[in-house]
């Protein structure tokens, strides 16, 4: 069909754009390098000084690609299963919950894998609390879920505030503040090696389950009579999306807007079928975050927190999409 053909072209273009951006991003930085330098790095012929710089940049870009894809796909998953265009890891409180878990583990001086686990457990707990409040509000409009998310995110913000209050201002406080606005500055090979696989598993799970996501956007009775257990399937998707969110938080802190905006961008290009829009969401998420992180690390002498950049990019795009779309979001 013509539609399939168009979708394939869009997907290929997006991947090509991502590759071009990765190469550009490796060239740009405090020390600008040439295309030749970058190419010689990939063919293992770089000089030792440029090799060191490029290795650092490439590690960071790999993390950015995984987090960009992971957060966007998590957002798309939440939007699908709750059939709600405003659902995202940040708005549902999952991201803040995860950073509470991470901050708590940092405060206790735990190693990275415990930080990861703690962030995941708190992410799931936050999601559960949000759904619980939504349940008690006994109203099936999409707005109550968002309201529940805002309430719980507010609660988690206070918990995070308390942790910051008792944290050691010399060392721990700085680390925790770093989580709040997101940055890839501290990502190195060892943190990528421990968190990257988790992100990859979550991304692959959602990628392969993407058709099932379409079914889960139906009402519960319809899902049941199609022979699918709606509760089990939704929970599996929630766990995968929460895993992605908390892993991203462990690696680089809380990054705003990506999970909310990117699914809308890809849906506005290829439509709402997750079989096509979910993979595109992943690639577009990576593209957007590679751009944002490259800006964050190159427009001033110091790294700018990433959420500042994603906010400036994401908000105008989101407003533009909302104005253009014909149907309601919630």
């Amino acid at each position: 069909m013509a539609k399939n053909h168009k979708n394939k072209i869009v997907m290929v273009l997006a991947v090509v754009l991502l590759i071009v951006l990765v190469v550009l991003s490796m060239m740009i930085g405090r020390y600008n390098l040439s295309l030749n330098d970058v190419m010689s790095y990939f063919f293992n012929r770089a000089t030792s000084s440029t090799k060191l710089i490029l290795k650092l940049r490439f590690t960071r870009i790999l993390a950015v690609i995984l987090v960009g894809a992971g957060l966007s796909m998590a957002g798309a998953t939440f939007q699908s299963i709750f059939n709600n265009g405003l659902a995202s890891p940040n708005i549902l409180g999952v991201a803040t919950g995860s950073s509470v878990g991470a901050a708590f583990a940092i405060l206790s001086g735990m190693p990275i894998y415990v930080i990861e686990l703690s962030a995941f457990v708190m992410g799931i707990l936050t999601m559960f609390l949000t759904l619980l409040i939504n349940h008690f509000l006994r109203n099936n409009s999409g707005m109550t879920l968002i309201l529940a998310g805002i309430i719980i995110a507010g609660l988690m913000q206070s918990v995070l505030g308390s942790i910051k209050y008792i944290a050691d201002p010399e060392d721990q406080l700085q680390s925790i503040v770093y989580w709040e606005l997101g940055s890839f500055m501290k990502v190195d090979l060892s943190s990528l090696a421990s968190v990257g696989p988790v992100l990859l598993v979550g991304i692959l799970f959602l990628f392969f389950a993407r058709w099932r996501l379409n079914v889960l956007s139906l009402d519960e009775a319809s899902v049941k009579t199609i022979g699918i257990n709606p509760v089990l399937n939704r929970n599996l998707m929630i766990v995968a999306a929460t895993l992605l969110t908390s892993a991203a938080v462990c690696l680089c802190g809380v990054i705003g807007w990506v999970g909310l905006v990117v699914p809308h961008i890809s849906r506005s290009i290829v439509g709402g079928d997750n079989r096509i829009s979910l993979p595109l969401t992943g690639v577009v998420g990576s593209i957007l975050l590679v751009i944002a992180d490259t800006l964050a690390r190159s427009i001033s002498v110091n790294d700018i927190p990433l959420s500042i950049v994603t906010g400036f990019i994401g908000v105008p795009i989101f407003v533009f999409i909302l104005i253009r779309r014909k149907t309601t979001v919630v």
Binding site: I226, I228, G271, G272
Partner: protein
């Protein structure tokens, strides 16, 4: 053979009996129309028959097996439900929306295959919406949306199709479209149970008619034997008269306004 039958079926919610003493049966390829006033439990009955409420009392046998013992996966290959007035809130195209029904045949990590696509093409043709395959299902008219829902149920290849008030939100032309589709499906040997408020519709498509009179009384029989002035007046607690129309070759029901 009976496609589905019940014996002393009842269902209670929070210790309040919604339906009771329902002895219902339908044979292969028949259309059973359920009539009853608002809030009498028609939707509950249809939900029980669809396997959505498994905490029912009494017996429901689908193809001679107790419904409770059939897994939802297996059930989805035998029967399909078109829920009442569900406002389709989906950004999918009609084609992709129908394809959802094929999930019944696949696991969580599967993608639709060629046989799924063929089935969707067949159903699109059957519901007469082939030209709208690429349209966004959310932007379609009320009648088309209803047909889309029926289509999504049909791609499950059910032997039994259960529809809760499939015509209630439609204008007259679209009501007739859906009723004609019901007739056509019954000719293809699909058994159909629908609920409606309109005895005329029951007359048009029903082989059998069931009346949910109160939460302890269900009466079922051949269409002509049940759709009488007495039964209907008693059912709706309002005087209903019928008259035979030569052109249509069937009874028409109405009420005097004085």
């Amino acid at each position: 053979m009976s496609e589905i039958y019940t014996k002393k079926l009842s269902f209670a919610y929070e210790s309040q009996t919604i339906i009771g003493n329902v002895d219902l049966s339908i044979d292969d390829g028949q259309v059973l129309v359920i009539l009853g006033p608002n809030g009498i439990g028609k939707s509950t009955l249809l939900s029980c028959l669809s396997g959505l409420h498994k905490s029912y009392q009494g017996m429901i046998k689908l193809e001679d097996r107790e419904l409770k013992d059939i897994s939802s996966k297996e059930l989805s290959h035998r029967l399909a439900l078109v829920s009442q007035g569900v406002n389709i809130k989906s950004s999918l195209s009609l084609y992709d929306y129908l394809l959802l029904g094929r999930s019944a045949f696949h696991g969580i990590f599967a993608q639709p295959d060629n046989s799924d696509h063929e089935k969707v093409d067949q159903v699109l043709d059957l519901i007469g919406l082939t030209d709208f395959a690429e349209s966004n299902v959310q932007d379609m008219s009320g009648g088309q949306k209803q047909l889309a829902q029926i289509g999504r149920a049909l791609v499950q290849e059910p032997h039994l199709l259960i529809m809760d008030e499939p015509t209630s939100a439609l204008d007259y032309k679209n009501q007739i479209l859906v009723l004609k589709l019901i007739k056509a499906l019954s000719d293809k040997d699909i058994s159909i149970i629908i609920s409606t408020h309109d005895p005329n519709q029951a007359m048009m498509v029903g082989d059998m008619v069931g009346l949910l009179i109160d939460n302890q009384t269900y009466v079922q029989g051949q269409t002509e034997e049940i759709l009488t002035e007495d039964y209907l007046s008693n059912l709706y607690k309002t005087p209903i008269v019928s008259t035979f129309n030569e052109d249509l070759q069937r009874n028409i029901f109405g009420t005097r306004m004085d």
